[in-house]
């Protein structure tokens, strides 16, 4: 992390990003807790997934290890399957 001492602007940007994403996370949490409908709560997972991609990128910038990008790839690729599963479940509940 000594690298960042030589890049004060980037350092600031990284921490600023962390701050933004953190606040965003809590916003998502608020929605999870308040709802009101089930789809409202479910989409929080999507939001968190996006924010996690953001966090991963921020960590890449922080540590200088782009290898973490692999995690973002997987999140981008697969998280929507969770939504589909939720949707299928909700659909069944309508049908019943």
């Amino acid at each position: 992390m000594t690298i960042l001492a030589t890049y004060p602007v980037l350092n600031f940007a990284i921490h600023f990003s962390f701050a933004c994403l953190t606040i965003a996370l809590f916003a998502g949490l608020y929605r999870l807790l308040t709802g009101p409908s089930l789809p409202d709560r479910i989409v929080v997972m999507d939001l968190v997934a996006s924010l996690v991609i953001g966090l991963i990128i921020t960590y890449i910038m922080l540590t200088g290890k782009p290898v973490y990008l692999n995690v973002a790839v997987v999140i981008a690729l697969l998280v929507f399957m969770g939504n589909i599963a939720f949707a299928k479940y909700l659909k069944r509940r309508i049908e019943q």
Binding site: N70, V71, V74, L77, L78, M81, I84, A85
Partner: protein, 137 residues
């Protein structure tokens, strides 16, 4: 009736995920990935397909039944340890072959990679089996 958009997407993503899973498997020894992650991805390809088209159609798209795929994976993993036995070393001692040595395309293949292939199939097979079993109900 399932969403058309989902069905189209599933059709597109299945080959994509399969190719990616193989890449992930291959890269695993040097980069993030490996048999397990690749296997999950392969399984995910078919789970997505099954969520869009139902289990029956999905099973028609697979050469091996999931349970045989799992067993095949186990067998491959097991056999990857045998070359060592044949050359008198303890089970699972890595045996490596180098192609194009000292060139830009130097390629090392070894039994640990084969082992990872076994993991790949076993995990994928198990995942499919589980999901198909439950989704079929």
């Amino acid at each position: 009736m399932e969403s058309v958009i989902l069905q189209i997407a599933a059709r597109h993503m299945r080959p994509l995920l399969i190719i990616l899973s193989v890449i992930v498997l291959y890269r695993g020894h040097n980069e993030p990935g490996g048999g397990f992650i690749g296997g999950l991805m392969l399984g995910a390809a078919y789970i997505l397909y099954a969520m869009a088209f139902g289990v029956g159609k999905t099973q028609n798209r697979i050469l091996f039944s999931p349970i045989n795929l799992t067993a095949l994976g186990l067998l491959i993993a097991l056999l990857s340890g045998v070359p060592a036995l044949l050359s008198g070393m303890p089970f699972m001692t890595g045996e490596w072959v180098t192609f194009f040595a000292n060139s830009a395309f130097e390629l090392k293949l070894g039994t640990p990679l084969l082992f990872d292939v076994g993991v790949f199939f076993a995990v994928a097979g198990m995942l499919m089996l589980v999901m198909f079993s439950i989704m079929e109900e």
